[in-house]
Point group: C2
Chain length 363, copies 2
């Protein structure tokens, strides 16, 4: 059994969040004390300031900054909202309550702080992420969607009412939801040697039934389609804190490919964050070449699939050899296949044959 | 603490499934022994044979039947497929493996039993449900989607590797996934007095954080939008086996309303089944009248919403007073609201004020 690296990483994170928010507030107070109109400077999130970094292997923000000052009447509205958002999430974090982007939107109304629409309030939260340099999940603003995990990892909760309680994530064989409680838990110990992330619920259940977690000493993560940010962050933690390699299995089509890519290299929207990516994770299948090699039942690519593949071909995240090769192969064979297509060879073929072969190939 | 009603309801169900499938097979063998071309008769699932029954308060099939005989060359294909499907799910059930509709589609190809498309193979599984009188979840064919539960219910697993193991469903404060293992578990004991089903993940988490399960002695079920069939069946079991009243909370719009209705009265597609409905469950909100009474932030109804409301108005499941009143009210105020709209009054208002008021009103 490995020992977790950092006993209290989560409590420290909470302190860091509160300190970051308070620091932001104090700056404004200081400015006012000095008789200056409060203002802030933050990295610009406009497209011309987003670059793909080969070094950190994800999108990052460039050097351009934007200034918002209460001296400018057009800035007062967004600046005030940003301050309100900081106050709101400070309260959430302090009371250890969680919330959603949707709640933030409606909660503002209690303060006569009506946002024009949901995108506007989402945008303010992203601004706040940029200013404080932390992600909204750190502020206890969680996504609606839930994914799941199963395997030999013992965690210790930090949420109120469960502090200090430990649970092994094999306790419930349908999988444990990855929500605020799990995301904020500390890792105690694990017997696992790797993480296997899976796109589809049916396959996640199959892997548990076929004891993939035992046979391959793996933690199984269900991404349930595009992985929610909290899940991407959780995979990042499994990789960094527990040193576990991460293998991602998706459908064999441009959309599955991109599910893997977003876990690995993140999205342009989150260029201001570093905790959502796992650059060392590997996309282990299903590749276009697998469709050919395993003679899988397949469907023809649609025009939308083909258009998407051409986009991916130009995407800086797809520069690597594997990605370019597979994009080309998809375009050549003009076919796609789902993970369940392996059932063509019997329900356990994917576990008995395909999985070990791919893990060997991509390790 | 109440005691569960039926110690081994689930094991008995499995025996019943296997017996039902074997019985179907034996009939065909007997026919052949007698020198008769194998044939079957089953209730027709065509629209003209689906009726809403006030008595059982759900859609049911009428008396029309269809015959499929191997004497008729056009019947051989569907009949053979039905037999194959029965064999396939018999094997699943026997080996206690689970599967999805998608797996069934692909698995057929291993037997050169290619289905034209997914709807065709889904349809054969529904035929099999009709013939055997059990639902596909009983045959271990589960949906992809997963919902969740949280609260004081101790269950005992029956799935391989976990037989006899008990777990209390407050063990993980993000909620326990409702998958094959939970669905097939026996109920051991509960301290709960009611079930509260919730449409949205964010609110489910809020309810757990605000200890609704303790304050109202409730089991909390996340439907995650339209409840998967396995979840509807699970709610049915909580209601029947544990005598727990069920309250359903959804968004205040025609779609939320219908999420509640499908849990209560089921769908026309499942008119041949009885275990997916909970006719005594109540839709406790969010009603159109709540939008007015609580002065909630709202959005205008779209044309699609309005069209849907007119459909619901004519739907036989919507004959009840509450439903008719609310459909009319929606059409009158031309507004809809989401559950999160209560955040307008602070994050805990929904738990402190709205929930107790509605539970009292609809109990």
């Amino acid at each position: 059994m490995k020992k977790k690296k950092n006993e209290s990483s989560v409590t420290e994170k909470r302190k860091k969040v509160l300190a970051g928010l308070e620091n932001f507030g104090m700056k404004l107070y200081d400015q006012m004390e000095e008789g200056v109109f409060p203002w802030i400077k933050m990295p610009s999130r406009s497209i011309e300031n987003i670059f793909y970094s080969q070094e950190v292997r994800q999108y990052i923000l460039g050097d351009k900054t934007v200034r918002r000052t209460s001296r400018n009447i057009r800035h007062i509205r967004p600046l005030t909202r940003l301050v309100w958002a900081a106050r709101f999430v400070h309260e959430l974090t302090q009371h250890r309550k969680t919330s959603t982007l949707r709640d933030v939107y409606y909660s503002a109304q209690a303060y006569d702080m009506t946002f024009k629409d949901q995108p506007e309030s989402n945008n303010i939260i992203t601004d706040l992420e940029t200013v404080v340099g932390l992600s909204r999940e750190d502020f206890n603003v969680f996504p609606e969607e839930r994914s799941a995990i199963f395997g030999d990892l013992t965690i210790e909760y930090t949420v109120p009412g469960y502090e200090g309680r430990q649970l092994n994530l094999t306790s419930h064989p349908d999988g444990m939801m990855i929500g605020p409680a799990l995301t904020s838990a500390n890792f105690v110990k694990t017997g696992a040697d790797m993480v296997i992330a899976i796109e589809k619920g049916g396959l996640f259940t199959r892997f548990i039934e076929e004891a993939v977690h035992k046979k391959f000493n793996a933690l199984l993560v269900l991404t349930a389609g595009q992985a929610p940010r909290a899940t991407r962050h959780f995979i990042h933690r499994l990789n960094k804190e527990l040193d576990l390699p991460v293998h991602i299995f998706t459908d064999g089509d441009p959309w599955g490919m991109h599910i893997a890519m977003v876990i690995i290299s993140g999205s342009a929207n989150a260029a201001h964050l570093r905790e959502l990516t796992t650059p060392d994770a590997t996309w282990s299948g299903m590749w276009a070449t697998d469709i050919v090699d395993y003679k899988l039942p397949s469907d023809p690519l649609t025009n939308i699939d083909i258009k998407r593949l051409h986009e991916l071909q130009r995407d800086p995240r797809y520069k690597g050899k594997l990605w370019q090769r597979e994009v080309k192969k998809f375009l050549k064979i003009k076919k796609k296949a789902e993970q369940e297509a392996f059932s063509r060879y019997g329900l356990t073929y994917i576990v008995d044959e395909y999985l070990p072969a791919k893990l060997e190939e991509t390790s």
